[in-house]
Amino acid sequence: MNPDVSPLLRRPDIWLGRQCQPESTGIPSGFASLDRQLAWQGWPPCGVVELIGDGHGVLGITELLLPLFKARQRGDRWQLLVAPPALPYAPAWADSGIELSRLIWVSCEARKQQLWTLEHSLKSGCCSLILAWLPSLTAPEARRLQLAAQQGETLLLLHLPESVLAQQHAVALRLQLGPQPQGCTVQLRKQRGGWPTPAIPLTLPHRPEPEPPRNRSILQGPW
């Protein structure tokens, strides 16, 4: 660093953006590389987390969220699955260590009903975690959901299509999910109290082993 600038950084009255830490710590995501990138050192304790990805591939990344489901298991509160595109297969959820008696499946097709359900459940403060799917979301709606989540101290994980990337939403965290053979890539598009990051690869369980890199020192044909 430029020697003229470095003494400035030691001055107590000059703050760096990185030092602005959120007051409470987050929920560990179970993936160390992801935790390092997140401003809370994990998932935010409450608010809206947008998970952006197209197609049915977003269904295949439930393993990324399972540690969060387990960490947020509090006996007196519900965990809601709102409008998932497929039926939650109860035996698998039970095998993953999720308490089925607290898991509620809400199926509603109309977007208006979905939004009402989300806002009402968030505001009630009776849910510890909500996983939801929405076909679209406008900026005012996102703001309402974020305020409701803060009011009820609830975390909402919201699956959205990639078309919303063009809009700016006032939410706690926005992640873009991408495909990868060993799991998925996660790109932090926006987070409160932190910076956006480039895509980082995450290894999810049960994925194929990566092919070993070819050793360049061995001479190979054709001769």
Binding site: L59, P88, P91, L100, S101, I104, Q113, H120, S124, H206
Partner: protein, 468 residues
């Protein structure tokens, strides 16, 4: 000790209660030709009196609102009052058409003395907004007669002076049929009647008068049928003006729910289902069934559920009457709030599910139950929310199978080349004894988008069945 409660012009006031401004003159008509049977204070001020003909009454008072009388409804109204009074006394007898007699002595220990008991009673009476008069007496008959003679809105509390006060009343006021013939003899007040020798009185006017006197004085027992609260809750509110908008139903409904909550709390009962019926002039009535989380007794919980239902309701015709019917009264089980974090959701959390079910329909809010079943389609049982759980046998827990978290109800046909098979096959062959046998080879595969999915190959081809 007994308390008599008299509600003057009961049927009139019950019809107009809380629906009209108090300055509006109203009269209730009955008989043939139609005459004024009851009228309120505003009408009386303008010269309307009981017994007037309709033409006279309407000529005297401009804008007089006329109501028809309905004896059945009067009885219903009195029973509702008895239901309310049941919170103050266990022993109530009805004095139709507009009186109640409450037994007081056995309640004094619970309420902490006569003044406190009366204070609570008066508070309730004022809240109801009906004109009333009350009196304490040593016998039920004396209490009732004093109350019917009493001034409106005040309670005579000196029980020992009650008889002395009654002695001053004329027999005509007390409603004796013998009053006219006794008056011809110069016997006008009750005191004069008491001074007469009993045996001669009995010979002249029959044993009935003697029995009445003895019951009044308490020398002979006065057994009365006690009021028994009904086994079902039913309450009807007749709207004076037809309600066109659902928003206009909010206030009458709120009053009905408050009343229901009070009755249920007093009797320590709760309702699993409450029917709200909106009656129309021509169409069959609109029925709304409200289901609380478990058994519910709180008025605000019913109101919240009803609000959610009404938002989705379409009104095709104006509403003339609202009726609440709760058929299955159950003993109330108080839900405790949690002081510390507990394992079970508290009442507030249950309320959320009831509200979601009221808005979306109960088939859309489900808990999940895992069953011991080889066929994946039948391994999930959607149950009542909160009742979910793992009902598989222990054997299946010791050999955990790798299963997807999301399952399609209908397997989707796919092009095999777009997926990369990772593990398998796992053969599943079952139910050959049923109409639709299952014979599938399941594979764990990875889609182009990177997600893990669950495929199977059967005689019909390749299908996608779930995502991990």
């Amino acid at each position: 000790m007994w308390l008599g409660l008299h509600f003057p012009d009961l049927s009139l006031h019950q019809q107009v209660r809380a629906q009209l401004a108090p300055e509006q003159p109203v009269a209730l008509l009955s008989g043939y030709p139609l005459t004024v049977a009851q009228c309120n204070a505003a009408a009386r001020r303008q010269g309307v009196a009981v017994g007037q003909k309709v033409a006279t009454a309407t000529a005297l008072c401009e804008g007089l609102q006329l109501l028809p009388s309905d004896p059945d409804r009067d009885r219903e109204g009195l029973e509702q009052l008895a239901q309310w009074a049941y919170g103050f006394s266990a022993q109530i007898s009805l004095e139709p058409p507009q009186g109640l007699v409450l037994e007081a002595r056995s309640m004094l220990r619970l309420f902490g003395g006569i003044p406190l008991w009366l204070a609570q009673l008066q508070q309730g009476l004022h809240a109801m907004g009906l004109p009333w008069s009350a009196a304490l007496g040593p016998t039920p008959l004396a209490a009732w007669l004093l109350a019917s003679q009493g001034e409106e809105g005040c309670c005579q509390v000196e029980s020992d002076k009650a008889l002395a006060r009654l002695f001053g009343c004329s027999l005509h006021q007390l409603g004796r049929p013998e009053a006219a013939s006794l008056a011809q003899m110069g016997v006008k007040s009750l005191g004069q009647l008491m001074a007469l020798p009993r045996a001669e009185l009995g010979r002249r006017f029959g044993a009935e008068l003697l029995l009445w006197l003895e019951r009044l004085l308490g020398t002979r027992p006065d057994p009365r049928p006690d009021y028994v609260p009904p086994q079902a809750y039913r309450r009807k509110l007749i709207l004076l003006e037809e309600v066109v908008h659902l928003q206009g139903l909010r206030f009458p409904l709120k009053r009905l729910f408050t009343e229901l909550g009070e009755v249920l709390r007093r009797r320590q009962l709760a309702l699993p289902v409450l029917q709200v019926r909106l009656h129309h002039r021509h169409r069959p009535c609109t029925e709304i069934a409200l289901r609380g989380a478990g058994s519910e007794h709180r008025a605000e919980a019913w109101m919240a559920l009803c609000q959610l239902k009404l938002e989705r309701q379409v009104l095709f015709e104006p509403v003339t009457e609202i009726e609440l019917v709760g058929a299955q009264l159950q003993p109330l089980q108080i839900r405790n709030g949690a002081l510390f974090t507990t394992t079970a959701p508290d009442g507030k959390a249950e309320d959320l599910l009831a509200q979601l079910a009221a808005r979306l329909g109960s088939s859309r809010v489900r808990g999940l139950c895992a069953l011991s079943e080889h066929r994946p389609e039948y391994a999930v049982d959607p149950v009542t929310p909160g009742q979910g759980g793992d009902k598989r046998s222990e054997q299946s827990e010791s050999y955990p199978l790798h299963r997807p978290h999301w399952l399609f109800r209908e397997p989707q046909p796919i092009v095999r080349e777009e997926y990369r098979l990772l593990r398998g096959p796992e053969r599943l062959e079952s139910c050959w004894w049923e109409a639709q046998p299952v014979a599938r080879d399941y594979f764990l595969a990875q889609a182009r988008c990177g997600g893990l999915c669950w495929l199977f190959r059967s005689a019909e081809g390749w299908f996608l069945h779930g995502w991990f």
